[in-house]
């Protein structure tokens, strides 16, 4: 398989603050790769580097075989970029925005017109071509953004939190369109996300936490690391419960906040034993198949939900400034 992206040992600091450290991974052609991580984990920094807006301080990457540092213009030709913030000129119509974009990529004349027709048709907005973008809905604007990013038929489509602000239906439509791009046109997709449900739909995932790649693999592979099922108990005195379980039932457990977690095969069969021994201490028990949330927890030692709320404000601020 040819690689659309090869990231080699990229590192970056904002002053004292390390945003990325030794990040390496590859994305194959026709692959949807998700960069999952909480805010401040380094996703935005990596996105800015891969989109050629910023040079990494350490390491490099190749996009479509071209070096990010030495051949930025060749990299840019292979790249379609859809930013989180709208990049449309709202005073221009949908078609004018696409024509402008085409000119920036050196496209012109009949060839450009054909591409515009094709893209408008594909995103289902052919009838809105003469509408000023300020009059389009959020979902429609996002579709024009995608059309913009694909106009020059890039080898890699880079997306930054593409479904932010979209309703569930629009979100699903966006996702099925990305899948289609990969299957029909062989375009590789690299998308950042902080949504676990979205990450589940990627072919492969990289979990970025505190600037490090905490995990890399398909969602299924990552979840397989966790044997069997996950059992979570709510308790008032979680540490006492954990010790008790370890001593009396010889089952290793983990305390996270007010919860005690156990990973084991056939965990549901373990519930009666637990209740017999520690019933009064346990407020509730949940048994579930492992999710990416569990993978995140296992790899980083931190709970996803707390992190996702932005526990690293310093890093977030630095990324926002950048």
């Amino acid at each position: 398989m040819a690689f659309a992206v090869e990231v080699e040992n990229i590192g970056h600091c904002y002053g004292e603050l390390r945003a990325l450290a030794g990040v390496s991974f590859t994305v194959g052609d026709s692959e949807i790769f998700g960069l999952l991580g909480p805010n401040g984990g380094g996703k935005s920094t990596l996105f800015r580097i891969l989109s050629t807006l910023m040079r990494p301080q350490e390491g490099t990457a190749r996009v479509g075989g071209y070096d990010l540092l030495r051949e930025p213009d060749l990299v840019r030709r292979c790249l379609g970029v859809v930013f989180q913030a709208s990049s449309l000129d709202l005073k221009l119509t949908a078609e004018e925005n696409l024509r402008h974009q085409g000119h920036l990529y050196g496209l012109r004349g009949r060839d450009l017109q054909q591409r515009i027709e094709l893209m408008l048709g594909r995103v289902g907005l052919a009838d809105r071509r003469h509408t000023a973008c300020e009059k389009l809905s959020g979902g429609q604007k996002r579709r024009i953004e995608i059309a913009k990013g694909l106009l020059h038929n890039p080898r890699l489509l880079l997306l930054d939190e593409p479904t932010t602000g979209l309703d569930p239906l629009a979100r699903r439509e966006m996702w099925s369109y990305l899948t289609l791009l990969r299957e029909r046109d062989g375009i590789a997709v690299l998308t950042t996300t902080h949504l676990l449900e979205e990450a589940e739909d990627c072919d492969r995932l990289g979990i970025l936490h505190k600037g490090h790649l905490a995990a890399l693999g398909t969602p299924a592979e990552l979840k397989q690391e966790i044997e069997g099922e996950v059992l979570v108990m709510e308790a008032d005195a979680p540490e006492r419960l954990r010790q008790g379980i370890q001593e009396r039932l010889h089952q290793p457990a983990q305390v996270i906040g007010h919860q005690v977690r156990i990973e084991r095969a056939q965990a549901h069969e373990f519930v009666p034993a637990l209740m017999d021994a520690f019933g009064p201490q346990i407020r509730s028990v949940t048994v579930a198949r492992p999710t990416l949330e569990d993978v995140f927890l296992r790899r980083t030692g931190q709970r996803w939900s707390i992190e996702a709320m932005g526990e690293a404000p310093a890093a977030t601020a630095a990324e926002a400034r950048a």
Binding site: A85, S87, L88, D89, K91, G106, L107, N153, E173, L180
Partner: protein, 287 residues
């Protein structure tokens, strides 16, 4: 909200033959196509925001009438009326007002650099494979074109002062305005490039560009100014633009036309060079 009816279903999309996929782009974009498209956008965008058009032309006209009429009766002799003795101060102030219109338009259009950055439009331009030079040229030439056109519109008021502009003279005025516009738009671009708020932009503009206009010979002439003010005026590049304009309008000025044009052209070159240098350095600086 998305209307599912308006969207092709994945099955329909999948049915689109892959032969319809256009080729990948493999050639350089060239310098002028991206520059032209950015230039065009600048013009379209400006004229679609009617309030801006009214603002940049309306307020200098009011300035001109109020200041011109007010000062005109206050001091009417000698150097103040240089080159247009008969029409008085209103006529003296006329070229200065044109420069003010150019200045206002330049400021307004270059504020869009900040808006583009805030809205995300600029990011999309910066990841396109076009040369950075195209971006500077498109943006600055777009603003300069608008500023020149707005200045020319004001020229329609010249006959009210019995100033009759001949055909060749019209193009001379057009050319000089263009040179002044390029310099001021370039300066606006340089100020706007690194700033992230329009408040900061206005603060800097009020600190540098407006005072530069005040001592450019627009309001009062070189000849009558005190020694220090005169020195400041001679060091101010905008003075040469105002005087070049006065020269082509009235055939008389405090400075020789060749000097005035030469310094203005030099100012243009300097502003463009600084703008280019800043845009090229951006990725290295990691801002």
């Amino acid at each position: 909200m998305m209307e599912p009816a308006a969207t092709a279903t994945p099955a329909e999309l999948a049915a689109t033959p892959s032969a319809a996929v256009p080729a990948r782009v493999n050639r350089p974009t060239g310098l002028w196509l991206p520059a032209a498209t950015l230039w065009w956008r600048e013009l379209v965008r400006f004229y679609r925001q009617k309030a801006r058009v009214v603002g940049v032309i309306g307020s200098p006209i009011i300035f001109w009438l109020i200041i011109g009429a007010g000062f005109g009766t206050s001091f009417s002799t000698g150097a103040a009326a240089q080159g247009a003795a008969k029409q008085g101060y209103l006529a003296y102030f006329f070229p200065g007002t044109m420069v003010l219109i150019v200045l206002f338009t330049a400021i307004f259009t270059m504020m869009s650099v900040i808006e583009d950055r805030q809205e995300g439009f600029l990011q999309a331009v910066l990841v396109a494979p076009c040369p950075r030079t195209s971006i500077v040229l498109g943006k600055v030439l777009g603003g300069a074109t608008l500023a020149t056109l707005q200045g020319i519109v004001f020229l329609a008021l010249a006959p009210t002062l019995c100033i009759h502009v001949g055909f060749l003279q019209f193009w001379a005025v057009f050319g000089v305005l263009g040179l002044v516009a390029l310099a001021l738009t370039g300066a606006g671009f340089i100020i706007a490039w690194r700033l992230d708020s329009s408040h900061a932009f206005h603060a800097i503009v009020n600190l540098f560009l407006i005072p530069a206009w005040l001592v450019s010979g627009a309001l009062f002439p070189l000849a009558g100014a005190s020694k220090w003010v005169r020195l400041v005026m001679l060091l101010n590049p905008l003075t040469y633009g105002t005087e070049a304009l006065r020269q082509v309008l009235y055939g008389a000025s405090a400075l020789p036309l060749s000097t005035a044009l030469g310094v203005t052209a030099g100012f243009d070159a300097l502003m463009l060079a600084i703008a280019l240098w800043m845009v090229r350095g951006e990725r290295r600086a990691g801002v």
